[in-house]
C-alpha cells in the first residue's frame, strides 16, 4: 500500500479542489437570473427526444389502452365494449399458451446465456490471451448480423428433412428429430437463436464491467488468501452488480417481447408459429390478432397485458438482483 500513500499537503490540496475551496467564490446571483435562456437550454436540448417519444412512444401506448376497450375494426365499426376484450383474453387458451411459450423461451435462452456470458467475460479478462481484441470484436458479429439471416441459418440447422443436426444424427443411425413440431423442441431452436445473437453483446458488457474493477482489490484478496473461485463470487460478481442488473432487465424486456425469431423460424407455419401454436409468443399472438385478423381491439388488449407482464417481470427481476447484495 506504500505506493498510494500521499503527503498531508497533497491531501489538503485534493480536498480544496474537490470541495471548491472553503471560500469558493460563487458567481453573482443577478447573473443567473438574467440568463433565463441558460436555464431553459438544457431542457431544450433534451426536448427532441421527449417530443418524439411522446408522439411515437407515449401516444401509441395510451392509445392502445383506449383501443383495448373497443371492438375495433380498422376499416369498419368501432364499438365500445368495456373490459370484454380482457374477459375474453383471460379465458383464451391461446393467450395462456403464448404466455407459457414466452416464458419458456425466455428462461431457456436467458439464464444459460447470462451465466455463460459472465464466465466467458471472466476468461477474456483474466487469461493472458493473444489477440484478445480480435476475440472481443468477434463476439459482436452475431449481434450485428440481421435477425432474419440468423433465423434462416438456424432454421436450416434444425430442419427436419435436410438439417445439419439431423444429418449428424443420421450418420450415427439415429432417427431424425422434427424440432419445430414439438413445443420444447421449437423453444430450443428459438432459444439457440436468441443466445447466439445476444451472447456476445452481454459478454462485452460484462467485460467492460470487469475491466473497471481495480486490480488492487484482487491483489489484496490474493494476499488475504482468497481462491480464484472465492474471488469470482465475492469480488467479481458484487462489483458487476449494476451491469448484471442492467443485462437481466434488458434481457427480460427483450426476451418477453420476442417476435422476429418465432416469426421467421418456420415461415410456412405462419403467424401461429406452428399448427399447435407450439412456439407462438405473446408478441406474435398480438400481431396475429391485430394484423392477421384485423381485430385491433383484441390485439390491443393483448398489448396491454404484455405491457403489464413485462413491467411486473422486470420489477421482480430488479428486486431479485438488487437483493442479492443484502445477503453478503
Amino acid at each position: 500500500m506504500t505506493t498510494t500513500a500521499t503527503t498531508p499537503a497533497a491531501t489538503t490540496t485534493m480536498a480544496i479542489i474537490t470541495r471548491g475551496g472553503p471560500k469558493g467564490r460563487r458567481p453573482p446571483a443577478r447573473r443567473i437570473r438574467s440568463s433565463w435562456a441558460e436555464r431553459v437550454a438544457p431542457y431544450a436540448y433534451i426536448a427532441p427526444f421527449f417530443v418524439i417519444f411522446a408522439i411515437f412512444g407515449l401516444f401509441p401506448l395510451l392509445f392502445t389502452f383506449y383501443v383495448a376497450l373497443f371492438d375495433w375494426n380498422p376499416i369498419g365499426d368501432q364499438v365500445f365494449v368495456g373490459f370484454a376484450n380482457f374477459e375474453r383474453l383471460f379465458a383464451d387458451a391461446r393467450f395462456w399458451n403464448a404466455f407459457v411459450n414466452t416464458f419458456g423461451i425466455f428462461l431457456i435462452s436467458t439464464i444459460p446465456q447470462l451465466a455463460l456470458a459472465l464466465l466467458l467475460a471472466h476468461l477474456l479478462n483474466h487469461a493472458r490471451l493473444k489477440y484478445a481484441n480480435f476475440f472481443r470484436m468477434a463476439l459482436l458479429v452475431p449481434y450485428i448480423t440481421s435477425v432474419a439471416a440468423t433465423a434462416i441459418v438456424f432454421a436450416q440447422i434444425f430442419d427436419r428433412n435436410f438439417g445439419l443436426i439431423n444429418w449428424v444424427l443420421g450418420i450415427f443411425g439415429l432417427p431424425s428429430v422434427n424440432f419445430l413440431a414439438s413445443q420444447v423442441g421449437s423453444w430450443v431452436v428459438i432459444s439457440a437463436m436468441v443466445m447466439w445473437r445476444w451472447f456476445g453483446y452481454n459478454t462485452l458488457l460484462y467485460l467492460a464491467g470487469l475491466q473497471a474493477i481495480p486490480r488492487e482489490i484482487y491483489e489484496a484478496a490474493s494476499v488475504d488468501g482468497a481462491s480464484s473461485r472465492q474471488q469470482f463470487f465475492h469480488l467479481t460478481i458484487p462489483a458487476l452488480r449494476p451491469i448484471i442488473i442492467f443485462t437481466v432487465i434488458m434481457s427480460t424486456i427483450g426476451g418477453l417481447q420476442i417476435f422476429t425469431e418465432p416469426l421467421l423460424v418456420a415461415p410456412e407455419a405462419g403467424l401461429t408459429c406452428g399448427a399447435a401454436r407450439q412456439c407462438q409468443t405473446l408478441s406474435l399472438f398480438l400481431y396475429e390478432q391485430g394484423f392477421g385478423q384485423f381485430d385491433f381491439g383484441y390485439g390491443s388488449a393483448i398489448g396491454v397485458a404484455l405491457f403489464v407482464i413485462v413491467v411486473v417481470a422486470a420489477l421482480i427481476n430488479f428486486f431479485l438482483s438488487t437483493r442479492t447484495r443484502g445477503e453478503r
Binding site: 380498422p74 376499416i75 404484455l306
Partner: protein, 432 residues
C-alpha cells in the same frame, strides 16, 4: 448510486413503454362510391398495388401499349396477405392506392365494409359483374349488392401426379383413366393404399392442403350458412370434408410434408410422394421446383370434380385520387377478351365465363405435364364450382381446421381428436 437505483423502476417503465409498440389505427372512412362519372383524368397517373409472384408488370405493360398516354405506377407490395394488411392500414387512415389487387381469401374482411371501396356498378352499370363467374363476382359483392371488385383470375383446381411412379405401382397413367379411377374420395384413398402397398412410399404430399382444401370447397354451405350464420361446427358437409382428410392420414398414405415446407420442393423432384394439389397458379412452381421431372407429371381432374383455390379481384378504394384512371385500367384489361389474351401470354387463368369456354383455354396443354388437358380440366373445375357464402372469419376458421390436421400429421394429435381440436381452436378464434 443509491439514488440512481431508486429511479430505476421509473426508468424501467419508461423503457418498457419505449420498447412496446402499440397498434394504432385511424377511424374508418365511410361513404359509398361516388355516383356518375369517375372524377379525375383517365390518363393521370394511377397508383396500382399488386402482389409479388403474379408478374403484374406484364399486364401493366400491355395496358400501356393499348393506352400510350396513360401512366401507371405499379408497386408489388408483398405477398397476398401482406398486400391486404397494407391495404387495411391505408384504408384505416393512410394514403390509398387508386387500384388494388385483393386475393380471394382476404376478400371477406373487405366485402364486410363495402363503403371503403367504389361500388363499381356506379362506373360500369348494374351488370358490371355479368361476364364473370357468378361465384367469383358474388365473393366481391357487399350486403346491398355493392360490387367492390372485378374478378381478375381464378385458381382452377386439379391434381398433379407422377405418371412414371403410377406405372411402377401398377396404377393407370392416362389422365382420363386416373380421373375415372379416383372419381370419389373413397376411391382416391383406396388407390393410395394400393400405391403405398406396391411401392412402400407415401401417395400424397399431405392431407391438409391437398385433401382438405379440396374437399371443404366441394360443399354447398361451408363455414357460414347462406344467410351469414356461423355453422361450421354443426355443418355435416364440413365435418365430412375434414373426415376425408383424417381417413387419408389413417390409411397411412400421406408423406406429411406440408406445402411450402422445406421438404416439399425436393419431394416433388425425388418422388417422396406421387400426388400433389395443383391449382393453376402452382404449376409454374412445380416446374421450377422439379425441372428434372419434365414429362413425368400429369394433370387430372381431382376426385369429385370441382374446385378452386385462390384467384383475385381488382378494386378501387373509395378515397382513390384517380378513380377515372383506375376504371380505365379495369375496363381495358379485365374484359373477357383481355383476360383471354392475358391467359395466352402469361397463363393467368381467366375469371370471365366466355374466356373459360373459349378454344384457347380448353385446348391449353403443356409438354412438361405430358400434354395433359390442363385448360379443360381447370376450366371444368371452376365452372362446376358450387357457390357458398364466405364470412369475415372464413379464413380464421379454415386456418384453425387446417392447423389441426397439420398437428395430427406431426403426430401431436390423435386422428380421432383432430376434429375437436380444430373446432375448439376455431371457436377460440371467433371469440366464443
Amino acid at each position: 448510486m443509491k439514488k440512481r437505483l431508486a429511479f430505476a423502476p421509473l426508468a424501467l417503465i419508461g423503457a418498457v413503454a419505449l420498447a412496446i409498440t402499440g397498434c394504432t389505427g385511424g377511424s374508418g372512412s365511410a361513404g359509398g362510391g361516388a355516383g356518375g362519372e369517375p372524377k379525375g383524368d383517365p390518363n393521370a397517373e394511377v397508383e396500382f398495388w399488386s402482389f409479388t409472384g403474379i408478374n403484374q408488370k406484364d399486364g401493366v405493360d400491355k395496358y400501356l401499349e393499348l393506352k400510350p398516354d396513360a401512366k401507371v405506377k405499379l408497386s408489388e407490395v408483398g405477398s397476398t396477405t401482406e398486400t391486404a394488411t397494407a391495404l387495411t392500414a391505408a384504408l384505416a387512415g393512410g394514403k390509398v392506392p387508386d387500384l388494388v389487387m385483393i386475393q380471394n381469401d382476404d376478400l371477406p374482411k373487405f366485402v364486410e365494409n363495402p363503403g371503403n371501396f367504389v361500388d363499381l356498378r356506379t362506373l360500369g352499370g348494374d351488370d358490371v359483374g355479368e361476364p364473370y363467374l357468378d361465384w367469383a363476382v358474388n365473393a366481391a359483392t357487399g350486403e346491398n349488392g355493392e360490387v367492390i371488385g372485378i374478378p381478375t383470375d381464378v385458381g382452377g383446381l386439379s391434381f398433379a401426379y407422377r405418371a412414371d411412379l403410377f406405372e411402377a405401382a401398377g396404377l393407370p397413367t392416362d389422365p382420363d383413366e386416373v380421373a375415372e379411377a379416383w372419381s370419389t374420395w373413397d376411391k382416391f384413398i383406396e388407390m393410395g393404399e394400393k400405391y403405398t402397398e406396391a411401392t412402400g412410399e407415401p401417395f400424397v404430399d399431405n392431407v391438409e392442403t391437398t385433401v382438405f382444401f379440396a374437399t371443404v370447397n366441394q360443399v354447398s354451405e361451408k363455414y357460414y350458412s347462406d344467410d351469414g350464420e356461423v355453422i361450421f361446427e354443426s355443418n355435416p358437409e364440413v365435418k365430412d370434408a375434414f373426415q376425408v382428410a383424417v381417413d387419408t392420414y389413417d390409411a397411412g398414405i400421406s408423406a406429411g410434408i406440408a406445402a411450402w415446407s422445406s421438404g416439399w420442393a425436393p419431394g416433388k423432384a425425388n418422388g417422396s410422394f406421387a400426388v400433389t394439389t395443383a391449382p393453376s397458379w402452382i404449376l409454374q412452381g412445380l416446374k421450377t421446383d422439379a425441372p428434372d421431372t419434365e414429362g413425368l407429371w400429369r394433370v387430372a381432374t381431382l376426385p369429385e370434380g370441382a374446385g378452386n383455390w385462390g384467384g383475385s379481384v381488382i378494386a378501387i378504394p373509395a378515397r382513390a385520387e384517380n378513380p377515372a384512371g383506375a376504371w380505365q385500367y379495369i375496363e381495358t384489361m379485365m374484359s373477357p377478351d383481355a383476360q383471354l389474351e392475358h391467359f395466352t401470354e402469361t397463363g393467368t387463368f381467366p375469371a370471365a365465363e366466355t374466356a373459360l369456354e373459349s378454344e384457347e383455354v380448353t385446348s391449353y396443354t403443356d409438354p412438361f405435364f405430358g400434354d395433359s388437358k390442363i385448360g379443360e380440366v381447370m376450366a371444368q373445375s371452376v365452372l362446376g364450382f358450387s357457390e357458398f357464402y364466405n364470412g369475415p372469419d372464413t379464413s380464421a376458421i379454415g386456418g384453425a381446421l387446417l392447423n389441426a390436421l397439420v398437428d395430427m400429421e406431426a403426430g401431436n394429435t390423435a386422428p380421432e381428436d383432430a376434429w375437436k381440436t380444430g373446432v375448439d381452436s376455431a371457436n377460440a378464434a371467433l371469440g366464443g
